[in-house]
């Protein structure tokens, strides 16, 4: 019935695998979606070869943003920072496996925005980071 809330989303929302924090960490960045108050912080550990070895997120928000964060972090473990920099909107949408309107899209992309702002070492998470290029 509710395709939009595939079980996987509610599952990752209710029982996230990557919720927590990493201390120490190599990269940490947080931001929020002022539209809905969704707030996310991402911590990463990167090894000498530039590979993401550990990842964690914390924050609060809707099922979409929280599940998106959990799925996204799951997907980047073992990837290089350069690969993370290449991630796009489409990658997140594939992970979620649902279609979203413009407002919910912002929720879905918030974790990626924050992740990319973190790995790029930017002071701000702007929409440019995740808009289709």
């Amino acid at each position: 019935m509710d395709d939009l809330y595939r079980e996987v989303i509610i599952e990752h929302y209710k029982n996230p695998s990557y919720r927590g924090s990493l201390d120490p960490h190599d990269i940490s960045f947080e931001d929020e979606n002022p539209l809905c108050g969704d707030h996310i912080r991402v911590d990463l550990r990167i090894d000498a070869n530039g590979i993401v070895t550990e990842a964690a997120f914390d924050g609060h928000g809707c099922a979409i943003s929280q599940a998106s964060a959990d799925l996204l972090l799951e997907s980047i473990i073992g990837k290089s920072v350069d690969q993370v920099k290449q991630l796009k909107k489409g990658d997140v949408m594939d992970l979620l496996g649902i279609e979203l309107g413009p407002v919910r899209l912002k929720c879905a992309l918030l974790p990626l925005k924050i992740l990319k702002a973190g790995v790029y070492g930017l002071g701000e998470a702007t929409d440019d980071l995740v808009e289709a290029e």
Partner: protein, 409 residues
């Protein structure tokens, strides 16, 4: 009191017959954001463009004269609707927001000075906050806020205390777009006047929903938007007392707002044109006039009564959902708005799942972040009712909310 038949009224609104998805009819519970439009309003604008369209005021040809007189006829209807003295006190703007900015920038910038106090409330929409933030920053003014009580009402004790500090302006919303609380506007204005303050009412949620008379309120400025009262987008109104409007400098400069222009100076026009620079929203004014006619034909008292019944029934039925918490549940005087939270479920998720069932509600901060901060929440879900909503829709809402809680259980 004319006879009120909601099924008959619904037929006047083309969009309400629609299915959101095949087999899923639209249940529109988002009129606080914007109202749907009856065919008579849509047709008035359609007809304007097909038969009358011309620029106004400066034209002597047939179309220009017809357009001008229809544009001005709408102004008169609006003046009568809010019981204003004169049509020239009706300034067409884009929306409530622009109306309030007009007061802040024209009246405020001219008549307020460093250290002056403005009283607002904690339940204001951003439209009645940010214009004052901007002005306060520019002129170094003081802003104080009437707190919202647990029951979702304005704290009159604190208000009385703030009045002792000699405010220059008291600006507040007639009805909260989040809590639904209808504030005791006449009383607030009366006290403000005694304290020597100018008063502004944000009528974005009151003028569409019940009878509002600027004479009875005794207020100085009233702002509202057509799109929330079955009229078109792109047009709103600032009503102001003639003496105040006359004393204010122009807001925007350009065509129509002038009497005379030289290379380096100009003389402003008379009211209301002084504040209407450039080609205005002509078709929209005419559509607004049609909306007023429509609301009058239904009767504002009928509308208020109908909404009151719906919201009272909704409040009772929502109690069947244990994890649901209504914001400002105990406000004594409330209009057709219910905002709520569901424990552990984000409002965006609530709204999106309801949408799957055809139910349109709002989720977010509803442009009232400080109020949500006060409740310690980033967002809420809001269902709102208007003249075309039904008891069956209330039931559908409540049933579906039960399903939502089950999904997340």
């Amino acid at each position: 009191m004319t006879f009120f038949n909601v099924e008959k009224i619904r037929k006047e609104f083309p969009i309400l017959g629609q299915e959101v998805r095949s087999g899923v009819p639209l249940v529109y519970l988002d009129s606080t954001a914007t109202a749907q439009k009856p065919a008579v309003v849509i047709d008035a604008m359609d007809n304007y463009y097909r038969t009358t369209n011309a620029n106004i005021h400066r034209g002597v040809h047939y179309l220009a004269e017809k357009a001008t007189s229809e544009y001005e006829a709408a102004r008169l209807k609006i003046a009568n609707f809010i019981n204003a003295n004169k049509p020239r006190e009706i300034i067409y703007t884009r929306n409530t927001t622009e109306s309030i900015n007009l007061v802040a920038q024209s009246w405020g910038r001219s008549f307020l000075k460093q250290g002056d106090l403005i009283i607002l409330t904690e339940m204001e929409h951003h439209s009645n906050l940010v214009p004052w933030h901007m002005l306060a920053q520019e002129k170094d003014l003081r802003l104080e806020f009437i707190p919202v009580t647990e029951d979702g009402e304005l704290d009159q004790v604190v208000y009385d205390r703030l009045l002792d500090e000699g405010p220059k302006l008291v600006a507040f919303s007639h009805m909260s777009n989040v809590l639904g609380t209808i504030n005791p506007a006449q009383e607030i204005v009366r006290k403000a006047k005694l304290a020597g303050a100018v008063t502004l009412i944000d009528g974005a949620q009151s003028v569409p929903h019940f009878d509002v008379s600027v004479k009875e309120l005794g207020v100085d400025f009233l702002a509202f938007s057509a799109h929330k009262m079955v009229g078109p987008t792109g047009i709103g109104v600032l009503w102001g007392r003639e003496e105040l409007l006359n004393a204010m400098p122009p807001f925007l400069g350009g065509g129509d707002m002038i009497k005379k222009v030289l290379l380096r100076s100009f003389i402003p026009n008379e009211l209301p044109y002084k504040f209407e620079a450039g080609t205005p929203a002509i078709a929209e004014a005419i559509g607004f006039g049609a909306a007023i006619d429509f609301l009058n034909s239904v009767g504002m008292d009928n509308i208020a009564t109908h909404e009151h019944a719906l919201v009272q029934s909704a409040l009772i039925k929502l109690k069947t959902i244990p994890s649901l918490q209504v914001l400002g549940e105990n406000a004594v005087n409330r209009g057709g708005v219910v905002s709520f939270t569901l424990a552990g479920i984000h409002p965006h998720d609530v709204a999106q799942i309801l949408d799957q069932y055809g139910i349109a509600i709002r989720a977010g901060h509803h442009c009232a972040m400080p109020l949500h901060d006060k409740y310690g929440i980033p967002a809420s879900s809001r269902a709102s009712f208007y003249l075309y909503n039904t008891e069956a829709e209330v039931d559908h809402l409540v049933e579906t909310l039960h399903k939502v809680t089950e999904m997340f259980a």
